[in-house]
Structure formats: C-alpha cells, structure tokens
Symmetry: C2
Subunit: 644 residues, 2 copies
C-alpha cells in the first residue's frame, strides 16, 4: 500500500460526489464527473434525464411550497411567515442544491443558476456573524444552539451544506457556499473542541461530508474532525430517551461493532463516513469492522430488494432475520445510503460483492422511490401491500406522494440520480473497471468507450473503444447473480477466471462483447426468515419482480394466487416503456375459504384446488405506476415443502 | 324488552366494576362483587391472591418511586420535586386506587386504608377551586387546560378518577373521591357544552366511566354526556398530526364503522363505552355496529392469544390479516380492554362467543402481562422472540420489567385481577350462568354454589349447590374450542342443546358435573395471514401454548425446530406449579444451512433431514419466567402443504 499523502493531488477534471481520485487507500478510482454521458434510451440514462427534467424542478417548487426557503427568509426579514416543516428542513434545501450541482456538471445536465444564486444570497445574509446557520435554532429555538446534539440535527444540516458546497464548487466553480459552510464549520470545530457537548451528531452525515471537504481543500483538519467524530461515537455520550443509544449508533465503538443496528439511515451514513476515513487513512481495523457489519446486512438484515431497515417505529434494522415483506420499512434514504457505502467499499477493496449490493439497491429499493412521472415518491418501501390496505397513516400510504412532512427522500433521490453515471466505472493504473453496464459514452483520459447495451433488460453488452486499448486491461463485473456468461474481445473468446467478481480482458482489445445470461431466478429466503416462509420471489438479472393486482384477471384477488416454484414465469416483451420486460407465467387461483382466523388443522376444507390462471410480474421499481392496488414480491407457493 | 328506567334500583349488595345489575338492556346481570370467593388453589384464585399480595403493593411503591404522587404533592407545596413521567401519569394513581377499591371489597382482599386516605387528602388539596385536577396542566403546562383534547388526556385521566371513586365508594363506602371527581366533572361538562373544544378526548375512557357513575348515582346527565361524546366522535373534530384521525377513532361515526381501526386501546375503550351506553339505552344501531366491529376482530385482526394490535409505531390494529407473530404489539392494556368490551357484550346478548373471546384474552394475552412474581410486567406481547433478540428498545424488551416510562399496563392488570372473580358468573331471573369455571364458593342470593375444578388444566367441573336448585336453571358455557363434553345432574346425563354457546341444566339439580374434553388442538391460521404461513400453534382448552428455548435440548436453537402437525404433542404433568400441564412431543431438529439470505430454489441443499428431538410447550402466559430466551407460539412445520 502507498503511504498516506498529506494533501490531495490537484484535480485536473471535475470530480463527482466521492472525489477519491487521489485517496491513498482506494484500490480503484472514480472516473471524473464529466466522463460518462449516459445514453438517452438506457434505463439509467432515462432515470437521469427524468431527474433533470422533472424531479429537480419539482423539488425546487416543493421547497418553495413547503416554506423551506421562507424558514431562512424570515431570519432576514424577507417574510413574516412562520417556520414550517421539521427542525432539520434546511437539509432539504442543501440536498436539492447538491443535486443541482451534480446535474449542472454532468454531460447533458442543466443548471438553474437563478435558483442557486438566490439561495446563496439568502444563506449569506441569514448566517450569523459567528458563522452559525440553522433556521430552526436561529428563528425558533433561539438560545438553544448546540444544546441537544442528540436530536438537534445541526451538524447533520451542516454536513449537507458542505456536500452542496462541494458539488457546486466542483461543477460550477463557485465558492460562496464553501465560504458559508467554512464559516459555520469553524464554529462547530470550536464547539466540538470545547468538550462541552458530546461532539457528535445524533444523525451521522457530517463525517462523510468532512472527508469530501478534505478531498476538495486538502485541509487535513476536516479529515481529522471526521475521524474524531467517528471515534467519539459509541460511548453513550449522546444519552438516550425513548430510543436507546443503539438508535444513534452510540452504544458501541464503531471499531468493535459486529452488526448493523439502530436507525438504518443513521447507521449507513455513519458507515459511509467510516469508509471515507478508511480511504484516506487506511486503518485496517476500520475496514475489518465494516466487513463484519456488511456481512451482518447481507447474511441477516437486508431485504431482497436491497431495502434496509425493517421497523417503522424507530426506522431501525430490527433483529437478524426479522424481514417482513408487509411492513418492511426500507426507507428510500437507507437504500441511497447503501449505495453510498457500497460504492466506497468497492473503491477501497475492488471486490464485486459491493457492486452487487450497490446494484441490487439501485435498481430496486432506490429506483422504486420515484414514480414514472419523476414527481411522486415513496418514503417506506414495503415488499407487500395487501388488498384493502389502509393508506391513511403517513408512513404507509397506498401509493407515491408528491412530498412528505419529513421530506428527506425526494431530494436524496435527486442528488443520487444526478450523479448516478459516476457509479458505472472506475479506473486504476493500466486498467478500466466497468460495474453497472449502462449504455453511453465513457471518456476516460485518452480513451473513449462506447458502451451499447439494453441492460438490465438484456444481458448483451458491447464495449467499443474505437481503437485498440493499448496498455489498458478491461475488468468487467460478472454479477453474483449471474451463473453463465460469454466474453469475447474482437471476436475471440476471452478465457478469464472471475476474480472477486470480475473477469479481465487483457490490454489491446478494441471491441469487447459480454453476454450475461439473464434467466428468471426463483428465490427463496433463509428458513429463519419467518415472514417469508412458503414463498418465493422472482428476479431477472439485478431486477426483483413483483405481482400487482392490476395484472391479474378480473375477480382474482392477489392474496389468493399461488405459484409453483418448479415452473417459473418466463421473460416476456411487454411493449411498455415503463417495463420492457415482464415475467409471464401460470399460477393457481385458490380463493381462501371464508371462516375464522384460526382453526384446527383437521378442521375442515381448504376450499377447492382452484384453477390455473395467467399472471404477470413487473419490476419492483415500477410498481404503483398504474393506480393503487395490492402488490407482493414474495408469492406463496403451491408446494411449500420445496421452498421452506 | 323492558323500557329504560330513569334511575337505577337501590343496590343492596356491593357491585363490581360493571354495575349493570339494573341495566334495562342487560340480558344477564353481573353477580355482586362480594358473591364469589375464588379457591386459593385455582388458577384465577392464585392470580388474584398474587395481585393482592404482590402486584398492588408493588404498584403503590412504584407510584412513589416514579414521582407520580410527587406530581400532585408539588401542586400543594409538599415537595419541590420536578414533574416526572408522562403527562397522563395521574391515571396510574387512579388505576391503582381503583384496584385497591376492588380488592378491598372482594372476599379475601386487603385494604391499605392509609394509602387511600393519603391519596384522598392529596387530591382534595390539589384540586383547583373550580374543580380542575390534573397535575400536568396545573403544575407544568399551566394555562393550557382543555387546549389540546387530542393529546392532553385530561378527560382520560378524569375517567380513571371516576372509576376509582366508584370502586372505593362501592367497596368502602367513602365519598371523598366521588366528591373530587364530581367537582371536576361539572367543570368538564361546562367545557363540553361550551362547544369551544371538540368535546371528546383523544383517548377514550371517560365514556365507560361516565356510564358507571350513572349506574352508581342514577344521575342521567352522566349517561347523556357519555352518549354525547360517542356521537360527537368520528367527524375529524380532534384534528390530526403525524397520526391520522383513524388513530383516535375520529375518522368515522361509531354507528357507521365496519372494522376496528387505529390505536387498539383507544378503539377498545371506546367500544366498552359504546356497550355501556347500549346496555342503558338499547339503541339497536349501536349493537349492530359493535357486532360488525367484533367480527372484524375475530375474522381478521386478532392474534390467537387474544392479543390485539399489530403495529408498534402507532399501537394500532393494522390491516386485516396483518398479524405478525414476531412484532405483534398486542399491548397488555388492549387485552384488558378486550375483556372489558367482551364482558359487556356478553351481558347485553347472552352469547357465548363473547365469553370465548374474553376467556381467550384473559388466559393468554392478559395473563402473560404479569410475571409469576407479580412484580414484573409486559407492555407489548409478541408471539415470537427470536434467538439473539435485541431487547434494548423499551417497546420490545427481552423479558418483563418492573415498571415503564408509560406505566399504563401494570395498574390496569391490578384493577382487572382484583375484580376477576366478577367475570365468572351472571344471573337472570330463574337462571344462573357460569362462564369461566373457576374453583370457589359462589353466593348468589339464597343460593350457594361450590365449584370444584382444576380448570383450565382439567376439564372436569363439579357444581354443588348443597340442596336442589329449585327455580334456578343452570346455564353452563360450552366453549367454542370444545368439541365434546359430558354433562350430568345428580348422576343423570343432561341432554341439552347448546344454544349460543351454553348448555342448560333444568332447575332442581343439586350436584352438576360437566366434563369438557381438553384435547391438544393444532391450529393453523387463515391463508391470508402471511406471517404465519407454514406454521401451527398448539392450544389446550383456553390456553395457547408456546415453545421456549429453555425447554429444548442443549445445542438446539429454537428457530431450527420443526413440528409435524399430524402428530401433536400430548398433555403431560409437569410437576411445576407455574404450569401443571405442559405439552410434550417430538419434533425435528434441522439446523439451517449457513449461507445467504436469499438463494435460488434449485441452488443447493437444505442441510440434512435433521433428527428427532423431544420438545415441550408451556402455556403462553407463563413464558419468560425462567430467564430470557427465544420463544415462539407458531411453530414451523415439516409438512407445510398440510398447513398452508
């Protein structure tokens, strides 16, 4: 390993959200933010364009409509409107600004400069003389600054301000947000160093932001503060109330933790920060801890969609194997945080398992969070909504909503999708790595790759470099779900062992073709996952599918449909741009007998054997775009024995 | 039906918690509170004695230790301690006083007069000149009286004060609590009549209390106010915030409701009030509504233990068939409220189905709420706790706790168990009805019955009247779970059709014997209950059983044990006073293979076929009395096909 540098190398290009291009402990480096232009007809490209055209403008309008900007304007006398929204509403503005930043700098993005200018002018004026900036504590709970780091979210909001400032600086060159953030940060440094507070935020986020600021500025103090905050955590310093220290990940030092716990978004943001500190400092103990925690997710606490967090009450992971489909919380932000963490682990280790989990989350638990219109969103993401579901409680509506009382998820989606092209490839000396197979044009230093593919609907990928890739091997991810593939370079089959999830094409190839087999896979859950007993789920490639009431014959209620795991549905062309490939098959419709909730095993009939019907499954991310109705990922089987 | 009376008949005996002895629409009448002396060695008798000796003194000590009394003392300058506990903590004191009231008046109960005198003195002094009495709004949120009926719990607390006052008046004759309650009530009447507020409480409770006060005093205004509050509900007048109107049962008028919804305890307390108003007014629409709502519980929203409420977040029922074992909330108070409601429905209709549900709740979901020591309690009552369960969150500890931040459940258990003997029998002209088969001596007017039975461990019941029961038929409940029984009077078999759940012994019998068959029953859930797919539960008589880790062979983890529904365990003498009868049988130990959470159906082995082991199931109410550890009511089966 190389020794840690003291300052980052000067950047010659625009860097994206994880500017680890010079991080000493990054095995692979992110490509520049302006390197990849996604094809307009690819799935990621379509999502990114929708984000530009619909989601970001919608978010800007919602910030105005929900008083988020007025919360700041009232501080400077521009309005006498009352404060609105949760006490951490400033972060919504910062995340939208960050999204605009990434979008402004991506090939094909847009730059609503007027909104950004207005926001900058507002923040500069609203900031107190000593650097403090938080519209809740300046405008409502005056005199209570830094009094309650457990719940105050002051450092959380600052973290998002830092990330917005970094993004806008990288893509538009402006420094004003950095100046505002820097002034507040110096105040925070003094508060943390005073020792009068816990010195850590109840909601991690600032840690990863501080490392990014270090990457931008080279100012080691930011990295040190992030590291200090990580180490200060886990000693119960935040105290607790109706939630335990575990909720805040303050129950156990991160170096000693063995399983993810507590509030899922808090846990995952914290781990993104841990990964960032590792990428800069190379402390092996941090990596070992993250590997343990990652395994605890993958082996015991992750939903098949990549959604994380089972419980509504405290938005927490819950016990190992506690993975209900029906009440899966799986907050959209947790899935986004999972992408963040897995990406950093991929950079650190070069192991495809992290790309597998990133992809699982991205195409399912993240993507489901925004509707086909780009202006409706989910917050929690259950894997089942039953017929007659009562959508009256805000945490479990029957469909997507335009905004939320706590609106963390929509702007989070916006900032991720504005930078989603940054996650498709990495480089290392003499090598290019491709992870997500998104159609588009990739300009990597002196190399230009044209990637043609219908992925994830189609497993064929062509990578055309235009000329031989002299001195550059191509490392191509073979996803963990893929059981068979063909790889050739310039028409000649490539024999490559798959190492850590990647096959390698030696340097010199000009046109590379990869064909990933995309069979429909019938999945079952570990027998300790009680909630999924006797059920199977269908996946094809990275996409998890679900059955919607809308696709069942008239008179058939979703809960009465049983599938045969031995005869899975087949991929079918749906002719629908929302989901070009659906799964179609036959199932059994066996109406449940009326009668009591509980009855003796030998007490009467189960109704008749039912009849065969046709059913269709659509990608989970696309559900709920055709009105509301029942949905389920996990289908009960006619032959439970095989799927126990 | 008889016409409503305008004032209750003069009581010649001590009445219990539901003084419906003269209610015009009660088909059956409660027996006096001093009529039944439970045998010391019967299960109910033991629970009641433990309540007297351990639980009530413990509650008194906890009130002191948690500042509940100090909250009132600080109002009159007796202490300068700060307010402690939730803003409705006064209700804990009132429920303990009510428990003391019922215990003081029961055969064999105790009367800690000093505590009651001190409490009365404190309340008289703490009450404001205008009658207002609530230590939170008098001592902390001054100036905010009646401003927030949605969350304030002022009427809820008053309701519990009324119930305490009624109990203490009935059993000890004292009027001081009634005077205090009456003064506050007059103030509340004025507030409700002013129309300035919603006129209803966010947490129903006062409705049933008002009807009871009417039964005691004959003052029709109390009944009218209760009825008015019921009718005012369901029009969104309480408003809503992070919980919808449904949470408060304010979304739909009670006459129109078709299924139970929202916060379970609120819903069930409200329904107890509806039943009370029905018992006094006979409005058929109220009964029809209750029958619909009752069916919605029994057919779709009740756990097999009688526990009610599936969700932790808002303590609500959740969707129909959303009945997870693992995260069943099933608050102890909801089970108690279910006993309250079902008892009133039984009085109103004389139908055994309500006694069945009362018994199911009492012996399982209520009884589990207190430990064998009488001084440890549950709040939520899941039907499964898995190996490695994290008990750090207060809503899902690993075992019983001595008290709670919100301590509603322990005093609620105390007041129910102090009056549990009131639920065993009723009377009507020319007839005595027995419901719960508790061993003891029942003095009913000129009749004395000696009931001998080991129920629920043993199904044999002998009822000895000492002399022929001239002019009194005996109606004996044949529980819904009972598939075979023998009934004889003075040695001669009685041939009686079972009507509405009861067999009848004609007048004139002296000694009646009833033998209820108590086979072990293997239960499965309705196929729409996804959480229980592929599992069975065991019951014997009214008792639901569960398997505890403590009863498995060394090295066997509970989650790896599968049962065969075709060969149920058999009842066995455990020789343990905590659970004289356990179930013993053979099961299969099939350790789960290590490996991923999700894998293809055809992707590898399930491990070997396992081996047979012995297992034991104990009554659900008794679990967790031998240290903490995994527990489950619903056991996965080796042959899922049969139990789908």
């Amino acid at each position: 390993m190389t020794a840690p540098r003291t300052a980052p190398a000067t950047a010659a290009t625009v860097h994206g959200p994880v500017g680890a291009h010079a991080s000493p402990y990054a095995r692979w480096r992110p490509v520049p933010h302006d390197a990849v232009r996604l094809a307009a007809d690819g799935l990621l490209g379509r999502w990114q364009r929708r984000n530009t055209e619909a989601t970001i403008p919608h978010c800007v309008a919602q910030l105005e409509g929900h008083g988020t900007l007025d919360n700041l304007r009232r501080l400077v006398g521009d309005t006498d409107a009352p404060y609105r929204g949760p006490h951490f509403a400033d972060s919504d503005l910062y995340k939208v600004l960050e999204a605009i930043g990434w979008d402004a700098g991506r090939p094909g993005g847009e730059h609503p400069r007027g909104f950004v200018d207005d926001a900058a002018y507002l923040l500069v004026r609203a900031q107190d003389a000593d650097g403090y900036l938080n519209s809740w504590f300046q405008g409502v709970k005056t005199g209570e600054r830094f009094r309650d780091l457990r719940w105050g979210h002051e450092l959380y909001c600052l973290g998002h301000l830092v990330q917005a400032a970094v993004a806008l600086h990288r893509t538009t060159g402006r420094d004003d947000f950095l100046t505002v953030a820097g002034r507040f940060l110096r105040l925070v440094e003094a508060v943390v160093e005073s020792g009068e507070t816990a010195g850590i935020c109840g909601h991690p986020e600032i840690e990863t932001a501080l490392v990014e600021l270090y990457r931008l500025t080279g100012d080691r103090r930011h990295l040190d503060l992030a590291a200090r905050m990580l180490e200060a955590r886990g000693h119960g310093r935040l105290g607790h109330d109706h939630f335990s220290s575990k909720y805040f990940q303050d129950h156990q030092p991160v170096r000693e933790a063995t399983e993810v716990a507590g509030h899922a978004v808090r846990q995952l943001y914290l781990l993104a920060g841990v990964a960032d500190v590792y990428l800069e400092t190379g402390q092996a103990e941090l990596l070992r801890s993250m590997e343990r925690l990652w395994a605890s997710v993958v082996d015991g606490k992750g939903h098949v969609t990549g959604g994380l967090g089972s419980r509504h009450r405290d938005e927490s992971f819950g016990d190992r194997h506690e993975l209900p489909a029906e009440r899966a919380y799986a907050e959209t932000c947790a899935a986004i945080a999972s992408v963040m963490w897995n990406w950093r682990l991929l950079l650190a280790t070069g192991h495809g398992r992290y790309a597998d989990e990133l992809e699982r989350a991205l195409y399912n638990a993240v993507a489901v969070g925004v509707g086909a219109d780009g202006t409706s969103f989910t917050y929690s993401n259950p894997l089942q909504l039953r017929t007659g579901h009562d959508g009256s409680e805000e945490d479990s509506p029957s469909g997507r909503l335009p905004w939320f009382g706590c609106a963390c998820c929509p702007p989070n989606l916006a900032r991720l999708l504005a930078s989603v092209h940054d996650y498709v490839a990495t480089t290392s000396p003499g090598e290019i790595q491709l992870h997500l197979y998104a159609a588009g044009r990739y300009v990597l230093d002196d190399v230009e790759l044209r990637v043609s593919t219908g992925y994830p609907w189609d497993g064929a990928v062509t990578i055309d470099a235009g000329r031989p890739l002299t001195g550059r091997a191509l490392r191509l991810r073979i996803p963990g779900w893929c059981r068979s593939y063909r790889l050739s370079a310039d028409g000649v089959p490539v024999r490559s062992a798959v190492v850590d999830g990647y096959a390698t094409v030696p340097a010199g190839a000009r046109t590379v073709t990869l064909e990933l087999e995309l069979p429909v896979t019938t999945l079952r859950a570990h027998p300790h996952v009680d909630a999924l007993r006797g059920c199977v789920a269908y996946a094809r490639g990275p996409l998890v599918y679900c059955v919607e009431q809308a696709d069942l014959p008239a008179g058939v209620v979703l809960e009465d449909v049983y599938v045969d795991p031995a005869t899975p549905p087949a991929a079918d062309d749906a002719g629908d741009p929302l989901f070009p490939v659906v799964l179609a098959g036959r199932a059994r419709h066996r109406p449940a007998p009326p009668g009591p909730l509980y009855r003796p095993v030998d007490g009467g009939d189960d109704g008749d054997a039912g009849r065969e019907i046709e059913f269709r499954a659509v990608p989970y991310f696309a559900w709920g775009n055709r009105g509301t109705g029942a949905m389920r990922v996990w289908m009960p089987t006619d032959d439970d024995r095989r799927t126990r």
